[in-house]
Symmetry: D2
Subunit: 156 residues, 4 copies
């Protein structure tokens, strides 16, 4: 559990809607993030964002949601800190910039764009079943490994 003044912050990105298998992947990622003592940051809405936050809260983790609109009620119920941006998709940049590392789950073009942006600004990116469009992306085979690799890749 977070003993440090500032625990690592890990972003989870992925599809806004997800089925049983991807939902399970996201749940486990959230659990592993919380177990590691890191903070989870995400877009705060549905799909992968919701399942990951649910997993984190199941392990007493801390969750931050960077929301597109002006109403905190749009956040899913597992988000502790609901940041309303009113900036629409520009919130993706805030998620990436605030995170120390990024774990990408299956998703479509929004996920691709976020992942590309993370690479652009030099954040470590772990793919757990997501886009593998660059050798700089770290591949993980399970949730525990994904979080470990993400934490290890954080500089300093």
């Amino acid at each position: 559990m977070p003993e440090k003044r500032h625990p690592a912050i890990i972003a989870v990105i992925g599809a806004g809607q997800c089925d049983g298998k991807v939902r399970q992947m996201a749940l486990e990622i959230g659990q592993e993030i919380a177990r590691s003592g890191a903070i989870l940051i995400c877009g705060g809405l549905s799909g992968v964002m919701r399942a990951a936050a649910e997993g984190a809260k199941a392990e007493n983790g801390v969750t931050v949601g960077i929301l597109p609109g002006n109403d905190k009620a749009e956040a899913n119920e597992f988000i502790d800190f609901r940041i309303c941006t009113g900036l629409g998709e520009a919130r993706y940049l805030i998620i990436i910039k605030t995170a120390d590392a990024v774990i990408a789950l299956p998703g479509r073009y929004g996920t691709l764009s976020e992942l590309g942006f993370a690479l652009k600004v030099g954040k470590p990116v772990v793919s757990y079943g997501s886009w593998e469009v660059s050798d700089e992306i770290i591949r993980a085979n399970n949730a525990k490994e994904a979080v470990q690799l993400a934490l290890q890749a954080i500089p300093g």
Copy 2:
């Protein structure tokens, strides 16, 4: 202390540099916010932002800083959750939109602009020695009163 799932979030705005008297005002505002169990949100840098966060941490409160740049190290040492936006002054909008109420301390045009934006989007604004350019601004005479008035003005 925060027993509720989502404590109130109070924004503190004011000058980026401040002298002894305004610094003391900001310290006390931060203390009162923490004592009330609310979360403090601010721009995370110096002046009023720093003093308010210092006050909140002195009372074991929780502080969120919405930062202009890409580097969390630019936050002052009293910020728990350091949100990097990379959006410059557009972070002001995030502070206001995330807050349930706004307390304005002495400041110049940045404070005026934030305060105007808070009024525009319908957030309660308490002036504690700040711009009083509208009858809709609630005036407070001391820090305890400012926080009480802010909390009372939150709808619902």
Copy 3:
């Protein structure tokens, strides 16, 4: 007419809805901006934004609209260059940052916030019937004077 490579850019801010008198003021401001050879920038929607753009086009001026949403069809019919931001109110900052000077017409808190932001970032602000909350705001008595004062106040 714009002979220069980069004519001056003047922002017009004011109420999103306006009556006969303010509409007339905005129309004349737009006309005077176009006659001076400057470019008009505004939020591109209704009220003062629409009337000013209408005035500018009546004098063959050039108009730029910085829109809140994703659909250029939300611009009024007098906007030549329709910039879709998807950023909501954060577009105000783009309007102010792009302008060389700002002319404020009657408006409420949105206008106050924009005007405060313009002062914060050091842009000349001319009030033509708007908020006069600082000695740094230049006051104008008619549209022709407002545009002349705005152009004169542009540095260098």
Copy 4:
């Protein structure tokens, strides 16, 4: 030349620094955009952005630059309309949202992120030597073809 009230707007994205071959590709893209009567929008800085704008101006086209900072002087000399955002990389979203179609030239992760975002929001994307990570990306073999395909792909 633009006879229509609102010519098509084509975004050009690609590397911020480029060598002889990519520079030539960008120059030709800019020329073809101008010849088609469309408006060129880009990030307004160096590399592909500069070469494309240079090409467009050589054919008397119109160029719009969406700049990251607060100073219009950061634009390259071939930008007609210099929009200062102060929003850093968030300007990418404005470029994509304002464009009717996007032509991607060689570039790295910034280009990947913009291209992914364009796909996400449903804008036609033509790759001219760029990332080809989806079947929805239209491939072009030369500049003339790239611009024709981009224009043809614009809905309505």
